[in-house]
Amino acid sequence: MSLLECRQVTKRFGALEAVRRFSFSLEKGEILGLIGPNGSGKTTLFNVLVGIHRPDEGEVVFRGESISGLAPHRICRRGMAKASQTIRPFQEMSVLENLLVPGMYGGKLGLKQARERAAAVLNLLGLEDRGRVPSGKISLAERRQLELGRVLMTGAELLLLDEIMAGLNPAEVERALGLLEKIRGEGKTIILVEHVMQAVMKISERLVVLNHGERIAEGKPEEVARNPEVIQAYLGRPYA
């Protein structure tokens, strides 16, 4: 049984079909890269998966059960969580408190257990001395890490990461990739939306390419990078 299955999912905004009859499936432990030009429907697809948008047609099946139409907090508690560059942290709370919320709610932990897991996550992220800092006062790179920490705290087994490396410098991207490797080592499954191609190519086992809401290619990174349609639509020149 696949961990996640999208069956003919369509999401429209008025006359615009942001995602059109999109199907794919994902196995446990995989790292899947989702790429495509701006406006191709990647973020919309993520929002459909986590319940921010309800699909107009089709169905999303997670762990063998349909989750279409469930509220985001329910989907989070079932084990699918999204991190995004556009999500603001809880500004008036400290970095540590930011992690307690997903730990207690998404992860169903008690306050004490949530603190313990938060300490472990801060360690993993290299933020162990930033716990008490108000989250409104941390750097961009730290905010991205905190966002990653937020989804880790939910204990979700499937992580949807929406451009969490955007705006990071090459050294920070390297660090983030190292983190993702570690997270995968813990048995998590990851779908990655990213424009930093070097990062996506390096870590993904499989790529899905979206254009105008439809899948135009799928396969191993090196195959996809040579696909003429993908080059035409997104890469601009052969990448690999």
Binding site: I87, F90, E92, R132, P134
Partner: protein, 314 residues
């Protein structure tokens, strides 16, 4: 606020509470006792408003709906059903709960000005029910604009201790919010509702709980005031000025903090009384200027004077 952080604050709070409880025994009575009782009432009201609106960021502009409902429920239950005050009061709180669930169910999905407008409208609508209900339905129940007279009330000390107890309860609830799952969930809603939802927080359910709890307690406070004053009319117990006062007190003190409503209500009540005695005709003007000045200097409330108030004490 370091001196009053959860652990160190308790002894300070206890001493303060015991001192207040001892005042009537030390001979405080008459006007001063009534002033303190009024102060407890306002601290409680502002506190109830705060743990809904201050913590979730949903600005409730109709809390007076439940104050008036509670006042009328207590009055009607005592007069028309001959209930004892205690049972009438408890029932008044219980009546406000489903009412708040109804209003909240319809309005807590909308944010910002719309939520404020919707709650404001709900309060005005309920006022009309008590004002015109009798005439429309053709019976004698709410007394229309003539209001209702309740049975004679016990002495001032009764209300002093009742409202002191109530104030402690409200402060206790808010204190509980500071470091518990429920409180963190509410604060997360205030900071970013979408991030909260994506972190597994059942946002609607939490808002409903806070709103229903806050509204029921405000309903009880309305019942207490009705019995205290023994005479109520719709224009007073549903007066929008009461809502505004709860909001201003909390803003003055600091929204979303335990002690903000206490300081704000204390400041406004005492300064108001002082100015009222000194400048009988102009005191409201002066009070207005004072409020504007405080908010200009301290936009986040008097509590922001205490350093490191937020996000540091974990």
């Amino acid at each position: 606020m370091k001196a009053l952080s959860p652990n160190k604050g308790l002894p300070v709070f206890l001493v303060f509470f015991l001192a207040l409880a001892a005042l009537p025994l030390l001979g405080v009575e008459g006007y001063r006792l009534r002033l303190l009782t009024l102060l407890f009432l306002w601290v409680s009201l502002a506190g109830c408003w705060n743990f809904m609106s201050g913590y979730t960021g949903y600005i409730d502009f109709g809390p007076v709906a439940y104050f008036g409902t509670g006042a009328y429920a207590t009055a009607v239950l005592m007069i028309r059903f001959d209930l004892h005050f205690a049972s009438a009061l408890a029932l008044s709180g219980l009546i406000c709960a489903p009412l708040a669930a109804l209003v909240g169910g319809a309005t807590l999905r909308i944010r910002g000005a719309y939520f404020a407008i919707a709650t404001f409208a709900a309060a005005e609508a309920l006022k009309q029910v008590t004002l015109e209900g009798d005439r429309v339905a053709g019976f004698e129940f709410f007394g229309g604009s003539h209001g209702l007279t309740l049975p004679a009330a016990p002495d001032s000390e009764f209300f002093y201790y009742l409202l002191l107890g109530f104030m402690v309860l409200v402060i206790g609830i808010t204190h509980f919010l500071e470091k518990t799952k429920f409180g963190y969930g509410l604060k997360a809603i205030r900071e970013s509702e979408q991030a909260a939802e994506l972190s597994g927080v059942p946002t609607f359910k939490l808002k409903m709980r806070a709103y229903v709890l806050s509204s029921s307690l405000i309903g009880c406070l309305g019942g207490i005031e009705a019995y205290w004053l023994t005479y109520i009319i719709p224009d007073d117990v549903f007066n929008v000025m009461r809502t505004i006062q709860m909001v201003i007190m909390t803003l003055l003190g600091g929204m979303g903090t335990v002690w903000g409503p206490v300081i704000g209500a204390g400041f406004l009540t005492l300064v108001g009384e002082f100015l009222g005695a000194k400048f009988v005709y102009d005191y409201l003007t002066i009070l207005g200027v004072v409020i504007v000045v405080v908010i200009l200097i301290l936009p986040r409330g008097i509590m922001s004077l205490m350093k490191g108030r937020r996000g540091e004490t974990v």
